[in-house]
Structure formats: structure tokens, C-alpha cells
Point group: C2
Chain length 549, copies 2
């Protein structure tokens, strides 16, 4: 299992650094020397973390590592949350790395599946973020970490700015277990706005030829939100948020949840829900949340990472966001994932496939996409003990009057249209994850969220409340009952579905007091990116790809 | 629920600090000025965290806060992991604080229960540590944090030394949400061995008149380990650790688990288990682990906090412990709890009461002790996805051949003698937690570990494997079957217990190949504190209370 543990931490740091002595001046290394530095300090078989968050990337260091001599450096074991860049994949194609433990692959999902098929990579596990960070402190500590920061000072202190993300977790594990930390920075400055990582924890600093790459992953253009998404968002607000009184929550990425955010100051406010729902968030600074913040709906937002263009707006709202004395945001993926797990009453997200038991996965045939934070936030936090109205009510519904020890329950909502792009059904008899498990040599299929952790499935057809299902048969019919015209939906038992509707296990829009005619884009508090800019008082500065004016 | 959220973060930091301008020189505040400082920056209704970990204590700041004028400062809401000092309780007795959110109270458990009864304190919830830290970033962010560090430099950078514990989580949440961080330090030095908390994150530093208080909580004298504990430890090693191949784990505090640690280099080694079990730990540096470390049993230990007297020994084993470039340990309770939750296959601990469904609690009549890390580490980590032999096997046993999506499972073991001190039975029909819920105004009884998360209960009578129980009735008989001569044990159904024994649901020592005669103290790798010192090569320096030579 831990093949290289007999040697960890391996050659002592001092000896490795001794080999690189001529390449550095203090902690400073010139960009031209980084190939030689990596060949000096990285050893075959090392566990290496190339910081790839789902936003910022240590892209210069990734590119340089992909260019080392595979005769000198090979069989690396990559332990990093995101495999997003072509250079990450190139490490395996060039034979520099052979094993991978990760969380999310996004754009490289297809290439990763091919490499597995070709036997050129061993993927040990698809983790949730906090799980991978946790293993950094137990059995997956990196020998070498290649990280990215905005700036360093002459001593080697680092300023990560708003995109701190995974950096603290990676650096702490590596630096305090005899590993070597190499940081690429956009610039060296005389003084830093603040210190995010102390110099003691950093071995080498290199000014990269170009600023690190960053992806605006959480920006959704309101213009692209459909009226079906408005309808589903209304159902969620009325049938889930208001019903349980959800105040602390996390939203997944996507247009479905952006629609909810944009209905808070309009539809939810009309229902008298301001101050009663959606007050405290574990969330990246979604631009779609600006209208709700400006309407006073939102008390607090702690973030995994930042979002491009939101800097000035965030700085103007220290009453809502976590910002430093310098005014810029402090994000921290590890703490925000802990918040999503333990401090939130609800997680809502989307998926590619859901089966008849409610198991869902984004790992489909030919794509090893990974799960990111979803398994962590979309699982019941069984260690949680503090009570909230939503948590208690969900627990009571799950217990259904059985004589068991009372226990609260997290609300975990899957929100999908019955058909995805290209008319692929979201509901399937069997997840592709079963085939993927076979291909990857896993004992258990890579499920993103297990059916017994899901409490609600929302489609344009209605809400299935799985908490109220009394057995697996009812659960299956509740799922079929909101699966619309997919094959899974068409195979429903009409009588049983009618019975579930009469019991409120399935809630149609009409039962929620929502008419489909109401579901108009006019309800959105912003209908374009330009609206968001206006509502932010001109402080939100969207990346150019989102501007059409 | 969040009564003071309408005003959070309340008066801006700059305004609060303005009121204290005359009391500080830069970040430095003289000890004599701290009462005035607190009266200047703390406002009525504030959320305040007085750093009380289960080891180090910001005791000078706690004492000073307890001495402020209750006319000026009252109705504080304490949000801190441990309520351990008399001064913490005095805050409520003097009317300075009125609400509490906490994790563990240890020595103040009885006093806390009285205050609740008298209606002088509202205890909102008993959290697990990581849950409380998570809420610091959502709905329990402190307005003011009073923390402890070993040293500061002139700029205000902090060195926390080996006892970093909760400090990073507390400071990050407070400093980045407009709160005020005040640090007591043992000394101001020109240069620090390393920087643990950057000066930017700290508002005020005070050199305390005496070094902060620290409790050697994890030291267990091997001389006090009984032969019954040796027997139980042998059962755990053979019946659980070897059976599942447990490599990553956490041990609770106590003599039961200390016995296991001391049997690794002897009994476990004789069974050929070296390298096959107990290689990677999330654990404070227990002195009882020294023999296993010296025998090469242990590859890695990441710690929540340190342990007094272990400093020089830890510094000598950077191959095992997480240490900085300065040689001293870096602990971090938040990361170690994440490791205990997500990276460990097994948690084993003890409790005061277990009911017929396996629910356990240390919150008993007249004592609100809290749970510390147990609920977090003693709960199935449902977000976990990485596979290990132990996790897969536990999941297979739990599934019992049912046609469900395969899913691994954490091993959660409760290890208790059937009778505690004063012949109190560990097994009860009904937990005192039910009464406590009523007294505290909670909807759910404060259970430490829920029965459906427990996989094994170990007593001197044998091991009950709850994974193999097919229904609640079997589970009850399995528990009664190891409950010995307690009333719960005597009420067993003999035929059903015999059937459970025949199926291996209950394992007696003989069935494990262990004779009670074998269970001798001679098997312990160290039989005294002096032995531990010798085996450490003289590096372990036990506190004087543990020395009798």
C-alpha cells in the first residue's frame, strides 16, 4: 500500500540541499537554474506535490519538472489535489512519474483515463480534498512540494494573496517532515502586504518568467441561466431552504446553484426569507452572490479560494468576507472544507449520473474527473454534535419515528435536469463507476456521493425527499418519480409514485405553490455579467472572456 | 441560534484598537496594562476565545479577563475548545460571560454542570474539536482571541514551539475577520527558532509574569498497567489490528491503549506483525510509544499537541515526528484531527457509559465533560474514498453480502473494563446523556460515539464485533455478551450469546488463541517510567510527578 514508506523521508534534507548549494543564493534561485535544482533535490521514487489547486497553478514549476531528464528522475509518486495542466499529464507520458493520488482532474479527465488504460499510470485513489490533505500528515507526506505564491520578500516570506487555497496544508506537511518546499512567485518585493507563509518553511524561491496561471472557475454568466433552472431554484428555495430553515451552507459550481443565488434578493425576499435562510456560507466568492450580499441577505462567506475579478469587491466588504489587515482576502481550502463538512447544514451540487439507489458519480466511462470537495461536503458529518433547526429536522425525518437514539442529519441535495447535454440521461440503472473500478483496479466503484448520504434529488419534475422513503423500493420509485422522460423515469410504477406524491415524499412544483409560468428569468436579480458589475458598484471586474460590452 | 450575528463583526477593529492606543507600544503591551487593554477592546456580547487547549493554556490572559469589571464587560459568548481552568468558570460566576460553545471540560466538568443547573450559563453545544474550529470560519468567529505562545520577537512574530495545538485555527479565523488577537508569551526574544504565526496576524503581545500552564495529559506510568489491561491489549492486537491489518490509527488517552503501545515490540513482534500493523499514527507523542519507535515499529507520528518531557526525544527522531528546521516539533490540532478523521483506519478509545445499542458517552449525571476529538475520530468518515485493506474488510463485514454499493468503513473500537472505578458498571440500559439533554435544553442527548459508528466493543470478557450483527436484537446480545457481571451482562440470553460466539461475532480470548495466563505484565516493553527513560537513551525527561527515583 505504502510502497516507498520503508525509505521515507529518505535522504535527509540537508544532503539534498547540499547537492543544490551552487544553484541558490540563500533561498533565491534563478529561473534558468530550476531544472538543475529539481534534478539535484528530487530523487527517484519521491512523493512530489505540484501545487495544482482548482484555481491557481504552480505552472512554471510543473513545466520545468516535466522537462527534467527522465533518466535521472523517474518513478515519482504525485500527490496533489488537482491534475489540471497538460504538464501534469506529461510527467506520466515522459516516464518521470508513475503513480498518482489526487482529488480532481477536470480538463485532463479523458487523458487520465487513457493513461490508465495504457497502463502508464497507477491511480491509487480519487480523494476528497480534505482527505488528501489529511494523508499528507500520515502516509502521503511529500518529499518535495512545488508551490505558487504571488510574491516573496528577500527573506523568503511568501504572500499568497487571496488565492491561498491549498498552500498552507501542502507547505506545513512538507516543511515539517524533512521535505523540501520550492515556491514560484510572480515577483520579489521589498515588503509584502502580509505574510501568509513564513520564510522558515520555504527552502527555495524562484521568480517565475510569467505570473502563475489562474482559472476563473466559479464565474457563471447570468445570461446563460435558463427558465428551467429558475424553476428548479424556486423549488429548492421553497421546498428545502425554507422548509428546513437552512442558514449555513455550501453551493456547488454550476448554473443551477447560481440561479438560487440570484433569486435570493427577489423570490426568497418576497417569501419573507431574508435573515432566515442562507446567511452563512462556505463558498468561493461567486460573482452571482453579489446581489444577495448587497441586499443584506448574507452575513458571512469563508472561501476555499478566490475568484478573478472579485478582488476590489471583496476588499469593500470585510463585514462579509475573511480579509487580512491589508484588505485582501485570505482563503484556505483545508479550513473551508472543514467548515463545509462540520459547520454547514446543507450541501447542494450536481452530478453526471445518478442510479436507482441515489448513488452519483462524475467519473464516467472514459473520464476520470475526480470529485473535489463533493464527497466531503456531501456526506453526513457523523462527528457533528451542535444543533440547528435544519439539522434536527432532517434527523427527525430520517428517523421516521423509529425508536433510535436521536441524531441530526446533514442535508445533501443533488440538483440535476433529467437530461444533460447531448440528451444524455442523468438517471441510469447502473453507474459507469463500476467499469471504472475494474479499469483502475479498485475494490469499490468511485462514487462521488453515496445514495444513503443524499437527502433530496431535485429535477425540473420535482423534489424527491429520500429521508421520507421507508425502504429501498420506495427510494427507487421516488427517484424514478422525478426522472421524467429518461428510461429510468418511464419505468416508474405510477401507483406507487402517486402514493409518494400524496405523502409528500415527491413534491411537484404545484404542491410547493409554484406555477411554471412564474419561473421567469425576470426573477433573477442580475440577468447579465454587466448587471453584476453594476450591482457591485463597479467594483467587480470580470475577466475579459465574460465581457461583451 | 446566532443571536449576535446581526452585529458581527461589530465595532471595527480600528476603532477598538484606537481606544487602546495609549496602552501599547507597537504591538507590545505591559502585563500591568492588560486589564485596561481587555476593557478597551472587548465589548459586551462579543464572542471571545480564551485559548484553552487540552494541554497549554493562555492562563494569564484568562485570569486577567476574569478580573475585568463585569459592569463594563458582560454577556460574553465563550467559543473555545477546552474549559479547563478555574478562571474559565469564574467568567460565568462573575457574570462576565453567559454563553459557551466548547469541546472538552475535563477538571471543570462538575462545576459546569452546576452552573447549568443554576441557570448561570447557557451551553449551546458540546463540539468535537474540528467542528468547533470549522464554526470559527462560519458562525462562531471570535471578535477577540486570547492565545498563548512560547516566545515573540520585537515585530510580534510568534514561536509556539512544540505546543502549537489550536493556535493556528484560532488566529486565522479571528485575524482575517476583523477580530483582535492578543498573545501572551513566556518571553520576548531577539530571534525566534522559527516563526509559527506571522506578526501580521497578531494585534498585541504581552510577556506574561509566568510561563503558560501546560498539562502532561498523555503520560501514563507503565507501572500502573494491570494484567487485565494487558489481556485486553493482546485481544485488540490479535483480534482487531492483525485481523484487519490496521496500519493507520489513533489511540485515545488511557492505560488500556498505553498497554497496546507497550505490547507492540513484544507480543505483536512475536506474532510477526512488525511493519504490518501500527505504522502510521495521528497521536500526541505518548511516552508509552517510545519502545515501539525504538523497535522500528513506527514509521510516522503526527501530533495534535506535544507532551512535556518528550522534547529532546522527539528532536532525535525527525524520521518519525513532524519537526521544523529548528529541530522542535510542529503540532497542529486541526490538521491532526483531519488526519484522525480521514487518514486513519481505526480509532480506539474508552468511555464511561455504553448502552444496549452501543451508544456511549462521557457526559454523565452531574458532569459535563465534553468529548474532545472522539466524535470526529470515532465516526465513520463517509467522505473518505481511498482504499486500504482494513477499510475494505470492515466495509465488507458491514455489508454482510447485501446487494448494496460497496463502501469501506472505519474501525471504531470502544475498550472498557466491565466495571469502572468504584464498581460503576460501564454498561447501562439508558445513558445519563438523556437527562443531561433535558437539563441543557438540547434536542438530542450528548452522545460521544453513536452505536451505529462503533464496530467493536472490547472488555476483559472478549470482543463484540458489531459489524457482524444482523439486527438490533443481535447487537444487544453481542453487547450483553461482553458485559460480564454487570446487570446488563447478567441479563443476556445465553443461547443467543452462544450462537454469536459460534459465528465469531463474540470472540473470547481462547478463540483468539490467548490464554489468560499469558497476560502478564512481563510482556510490557517498559514496566515503569524509568524503563521509558532508559529505552529513550536518556532523552525522555519525565515531569517530576512521574519520577520516583
Amino acid at each position: 500500500m505504502n510502497a516507498n514508506d520503508h525509505r521515507f523521508p529518505g535522504t535527509p534534507r540537508a544532503e539534498r540541499k547540499g547537492r543544490a548549494a551552487a544553484l541558490a543564493q540563500g533561498r533565491r534561485v534563478a529561473a534558468d537554474n530550476v531544472t538543475a535544482l529539481l534534478e539535484a533535490v528530487v530523487e527517484c521514487g519521491d512523493r512530489v506535490c505540484v501545487e495544482g489547486n482548482n484555481q491557481k497553478q504552480a505552472d512554471f514549476l510543473a513545466r520545468t519538472l516535466a522537462g527534467v531528464d527522465p533518466q535521472r528522475v523517474h518513478d515519482l509518486h504525485l500527490v496533489q489535489s488537482v491534475v489540471a495542466l497538460p504538464e501534469h499529464v506529461a510527467l506520466f507520458e515522459r516516464g518521470i512519474a508513475s503513480q498518482l493520488d489526487f482529488s480532481f482532474s477536470g480538463p485532463q479527465a479523458t487523458r487520465l483515463a487513457s493513461l490508465v488504460e495504457e497502463g502508464r499510470i497507477r491511480v491509487n485513489a480519487i480523494h476528497t480534498y480534505l482527505e488528501l490533505f489529511a494523508r499528507y500528515f500520515v502516509d502521503l507526506t511529500p518529499n518535495v512540494a512545488l508551490i505558487a505564491a504571488e510574491a516573496a520578500d528577500a527573506q523568503g516570506n511568501l504572500y499568497t494573496g487571496p488565492n491561498t487555497e491549498d498552500t498552507p496544508a501542502i507547505v506545513e506537511a512538507t516543511a515539517f517532515r524533512g521535505g523540501i518546499v520550492i515556491a514560484q512567485v510572480n515577483e520579489i518585493r521589498d515588503t509584502l502586504p502580509r505574510v501568509d507563509i513564513p520564510a522558515d518553511w520555504v527552502d527555495y524561491v524562484v521568480e517565475a518568467p510569467t505570473p502563475y496561471y489562474i482559472e476563473p472557475l466559479f464565474t457563471r454568466d447570468p445570461a446563460l441561466i435558463s427558465e428551467i433552472q429558475v424553476l428548479m431554484a424556486m423549488m429548492v428555495i421553497r421546498g428545502i431552504y425554507a422548509r428546513y430553515g437552512v442558514t449555513t451552507l455550501n453551493h456547488g459550481i454550476g448554473f443551477d446553484t447560481a440561479a438560487i443565488e440570484l433569486l435570493l434578493p427577489t423570490y426568497a425576499a418576497q417569501l419573507g426569507l431574508k435573515g432566515r435562510i442562507c446567511t452563512h456560507w462556505a463558498l468561493n466568492p461567486h460573482p452571482a452572490l453579489i446581489p444577495a450580499i448587497e441586499a443584506g441577505f448574507v452575513h458571512s462567506v469563508h472561501s476555499f479560494g478566490s475568484e478573478l475579478g472579485m478582488e476590489a469587491y471583496i476588499a469593500s466588504r470585510p463585514d462579509v468576507f475573511f480579509t487580512g489587515a491589508d484588505g485582501s482576502m485570505r482563503s484556505n481550502r483545508a479550513f473551508c472544507q472543514a467548515a463545509g463538512h462540520y459547520a454547514c447544514d446543507l450541501f447542494i451540487g450536481s452530478t453526471l449520473q445518478i442510479d436507482l439507489a441515489g448513488n452519483s458519480s462524475t467519473a464516467t466511462r472514459g473520464r476520470i474527473a475526480g470529485f473535489g470537495g463533493a464527497p466531503n461536503m456531501g456526506a453526513d458529518a457523523r462527528g457533528r454534535r451542535h444543533e440547528s433547526a435544519a439539522w434536527i429536522k432532517a434527523g427527525e425525518e430520517a428517523r421516521q419515528g423509529r425508536d433510535e437514539m436521536p441524531r441530526g442529519r446533514k442535508l445533501v441535495v443533488q440538483m440535476v435536469e433529467t437530461f444533460r447535454e447531448h440528451m444524455e440521461p442523468a438517471f441510469v440503472e447502473r453507474l459507469d463507476a463500476w467499469d471504472l473500478a475494474r479499469d483502475m483496479g479498485l475494490s469499490n466503484p468511485p462514487v462521488m456521493i453515496f445514495g444513503d448520504d443524499v437527502t433530496h434529488i431535485v429535477t425540473e419534475e420535482g423534489i424527491a425527499n429520500l429521508l421520507l422513503c421507508r425502504d429501498a423500493g420506495e427510494r427507487e420509485q421516488a427517484i424514478r418519480g422525478v426522472a421524467g422522460y429518461t428510461a429510468v423515469g418511464l419505468a416508474r410504477d405510477r401507483d406507487r409514485v402517486a402514493e409518494l406524491e400524496s405523502r409528500g415524499v415527491i413534491l411537484r412544483p404545484a404542491a410547493l405553490g409554484i406555477s411554471r409560468r412564474q419561473a421567469s428569468r425576470d426573477l433573477l436579480a442580475a440577468r447579465s455579467v454587466k448587471d453584476l458589475v453594476r450591482i457591485s458598484g463597479g467594483l467587480y471586474e470580470p475577466p475579459s472572456r465574460f465581457r461583451n460590452w
